[in-house]
């Protein structure tokens, strides 16, 4: 007759459901405010050659912007997938080498900018020669300031940028075959068709 005892039980069940859903979510996945906004402009030295690169050079193309570094373990995990992607797809992939030279690389005090640039180039090129180079071109962000403008907080990160230079998708952490198949490739197709 008296079903009042069901009320706390119901409340408890609701709480359990909320907590259970909370457990399945990744706290590192934070919606980026940059999605839907123009990709921040910059001008950075390229890995090869003396000319600087700027995102406006890619206007009219749908392209991937992948933030990486040779010291980043998760990037190594992701690397074969990117190499595979670059072989199968004609979508350009631009690499951003993020803070390649870390504090531990400079035990005798900070290196000069030119020295840093040279060391970063040597290390990155060696890595790409060994592991394969998925990048149409790579740029070097030594002090991480471009990274800040793109809201980078956990390498690797990948951005999909459309023909108008607007960021359409951002992934924090390594790409997986599943994300590539289910999210990225369909999105690239729609963007390239438009």
């Amino acid at each position: 007759m008296n079903k009042k005892f069901l009320i706390p039980l119901g409340l408890f069940a609701a709480l359990v459901i909320f907590l259970a859903v909370g457990l399945t979510r990744d706290p590192r996945e934070i919606p980026s405010p940059l999605v839907g906004k123009p990709a921040p402009d910059f001008s950075l030295p390229m890995l090869v050659g003396d000319k600087p690169f700027s995102p406006s050079d890619m206007k009219g193309k749908v392209w991937l912007f992948n933030v990486w570094a040779t010291w980043c373990v998760a990037c190594r995990e992701e690397h074969p997938l990117l190499v595979e992607f670059s072989k199968q797809s004609r979508t350009p992939v631009v690499g951003l080498s993020y803070k390649e030279i870390q504090a531990q690389d400079q035990p005798n005090g900070p290196l000069k900018e030119a020295e840093k640039l040279q060391l970063a180039r040597e290390r990155s090129l060696r890595f790409l020669q060994r592991q394969g180079d998925p990048y149409t071109l790579s740029v070097l962000d030594l002090d991480g300031s471009v990274g800040i403008n793109y809201g980078v907080y956990g390498v690797p990160e990948t951005y999909l940028i459309d023909r108008q230079g607007v960021i359409r998708y951002k992934r924090v952490g390594p790409l997986t075959p599943q994300i590539l198949q289910d999210t990225l490739l369909p999105l690239i197709q729609t963007l390239e068709a438009s």
Binding site: P27, I30, P31, P33, K99, A103, I148, N149, G151, Y153
Partner: protein, 147 residues
């Protein structure tokens, strides 16, 4: 012996204070940085504030905030700068906007609901008590006698 120990104990914080590194050139900038950075979340160690985190990104962001302070940006402008890049999540104190209304006003709504529930319950109880006819003196006496 006691005195030596006491002297040593009294002196030791002073001695170590002399070894501490000055944080930065400009104490005013540093003071403002601490106030602002306390309110900002480090994206790498998510439960640490930007002022207390040792993560490298936190260091970079502190450097960035210092730069903005020197450019005489207001606190609001500096926070907007970071929100534009990292999202609302960098703020420990969420902004009041439609998306965060349940967060800000939800508890008050639940409180109102509880007050309404209490009021209803009390009214029902009062009505129920009034509906009961009080016992006459003799009946009451009988009831007591039966016990």
């Amino acid at each position: 012996m006691k005195w030596i120990l006491l002297c040593w104990m009294l002196l030791s914080p002073w001695v170590s204070a002399g070894e501490a590194q000055p944080m930065a050139e400009d104490p005013q900038v540093e003071a403002r940085l601490v106030v602002i950075a306390e309110e900002l979340r480090c994206m790498v160690c998510q439960n640490e504030s930007l002022s207390s985190s040792h993560a490298e990104l936190a260091e970079d962001l502190r450097r960035e905030v210092r730069k903005l302070i020197r450019e005489n940006k207001t606190d609001a402008e500096i926070k907007t700068y970071l929100v534009e890049r990292y999202g609302d999540f960098v703020l420990y104190r969420p902004q009041v906007k439609p998306l965060t209304w349940p967060l800000w006003f939800g508890p008050f709504f639940i409180l109102l609901l509880a007050v309404w529930g209490l009021w209803r319950y009390l009214r029902l109880r009062k009505n129920a008590l009034q509906a009961q006819t009080p016992l006459h003196h003799e009946q009451a006496a009988d009831a007591v006698a039966k016990d």
